[in-house]
Symmetry: C2
Subunit: 206 residues, 2 copies
C-alpha cells in the first residue's frame, strides 16, 4: 500500500520531541514527509531543498532537520513510501517454480499500470537518473529491501546478479513504455508483453 | 564515431547563410552545436535554453534559431552526434543467426564501456527521463534510425515489439550498471553478463 504510513506517534516518541515543538505536533512529521514527497516528485531532487520542504509544510527548516536529518535522509524517508508496493516482489517468488517469472512480471506490471503507484516510482527514477546522491539512496534501499530478499529466494548460481538482470529487463520495459513512450511497446497489451518476457525472466531466475 | 561531424560547409550552404552572418563563419554552426551538446550534457534539457547556448558559443540567439530552429531541434541535432555510435547496431545483425544476440550484446557493451561514447548517451537518457519534449525527440530519433532498421532485419512475428524488449533489456542493464551503479552488476565482468543475457536476447530476436 503506497499510502500506508508508519505510526507517527511511535516514531516521534522514539526520536524524541524537537526542541520547542508543542504538544499536539504529532502530525507534523507526517505533514513534512507528505510535502517532501510532493516536492521531490514535482521539482526533482536537485531543485528540492530542506528549505523548500519546510516552506511547503509551513515549518522551520530546523524541524525538518530534526525529524529527518539531511536532504538525502528526507529523500530516503520519502521514497520509502513510494517503493512500498514494489517490496511485495519477494512474495511473488513463492508457489510453483515454473510460473515464477510470470508471477513476477504480472506483479510488476500491476504496479506500473496503476498511475497511483506508477507516478511515485517514476519520480524516484527521474531523481536517481539525474542526481548521484539520489541514485545512492535509491540503490541502497533497493538492494537491502528488494534485491537481497529476492535473490535469497532463488535456487541458482549468482542469484544476485541474475535477480538484477531480471530487474533490468523490467526497468527497461518501464523506461520505454511509461517514460519514453516508444511504440509499439507503449500501447502493447500487457498479456502479450508478459508472454514474450516470461521466458527471458524464467531463464534468469530458475 | 561520436566525434564524426557532418561537413559543416555543405550544411551551411544547404540551409543558406544567416542574415548578417559574415563570410568565414562556416565553423559557427559547428561551434554552436558543440556548445549545445555541452550545455545539454552538463545542465540537462530543462536548464538549457537557446539563450544559454548562444551565450556559450559567443553568438546572438537569433543565429542559433537560424541554424537549428527551436530548442527541441537543437536538441535533436545535438543528440544525433551522441547516438551515432549506437546506429551501427543493425550491422550487428548480419552473420550467423545463432550468434546474433551475442554480437548485439557485445556491440552495445563496447559503446557503454567506453566513457567517450557512454557519457553523451547517459546525458541524453537523463534529459529524456526528466523532460517530455526531450523524450519525444529521443523516441522519434531512436525509432526511425535504430528500431525500424533493426526490426526490419529480424525474421520473427512482431519484430518491432521484440526488438524493443531486447533494447529494454540492454537499457535496463545500462541503468543499473552505469547510472544507479548497483552491485554486483556494476562491477561484474562483461563476459559473464554477456553469457547470461545472450539467451534472453536470442529468445526475442530469433
Amino acid at each position: 500500500m503506497p499510502q500506508a504510513t508508519p505510526d507517527p506517534e511511535s516514531r516521534t516518541r522514539r526520536r524524541g520531541r524537537p526542541a520547542g515543538a508543542r504538544a499536539g505536533d504529532a502530525g507534523t512529521r507526517d505533514r513534512i514527509l507528505a510535502e517532501a514527497r510532493t516536492e521531490f516528485s514535482e521539482r526533482g531532487y536537485d531543485k528540492t531543498s530542506i528549505r523548500s520542504i519546510a516552506r511547503a509544510a509551513g515549518v522551520d527548516s530546523a524541524l525538518v532537520h530534526h525529524y529527518f536529518g539531511t536532504k538525502e535522509q528526507v529523500f530516503a524517508a520519502a521514497i520509502e513510501l513510494s517503493i512500498a508496493p514494489v517490496l511485495g516482489a519477494p512474495g511473488a517468488l513463492t508457489g510453483d517454480p515454473s510460473q515464477l517469472a510470470e508471477r513476477l512480471a504480472r506483479f510488476m506490471f500491476g504496479i506500473w499500470e496503476s498511475p497511483g503507484t506508477r507516478e511515485p516510482l517514476l519520480a524516484i527514477l527521474r531523481s536517481a537518473v539525474s542526481n548521484e546522491a539520489a541514485a545512492a539512496v535509491f540503490r541502497d534501499m533497493v538492494t537491502q529491501r528488494l534485491l537481497l530478499p529476492v535473490a535469497g529466494g532463488l535456487d541458482v548460481d549468482r542469484p544476485e546478479l541474475r535477480a538484477q538482470l531480471a530487474a533490468a529487463q523490467l526497468i527497461g520495459i518501464a523506461m520505454l513504455r511509461y517514460v519514453i513512450k516508444a511504440e509499439p511497446l507503449a500501447s502493447a497489451d500487457i498479456d502479450e508483453i508478459v508472454a514474450m518476457v516470461t521466458p527471458a525472466l524464467q531463464g534468469y531466475l530458475t
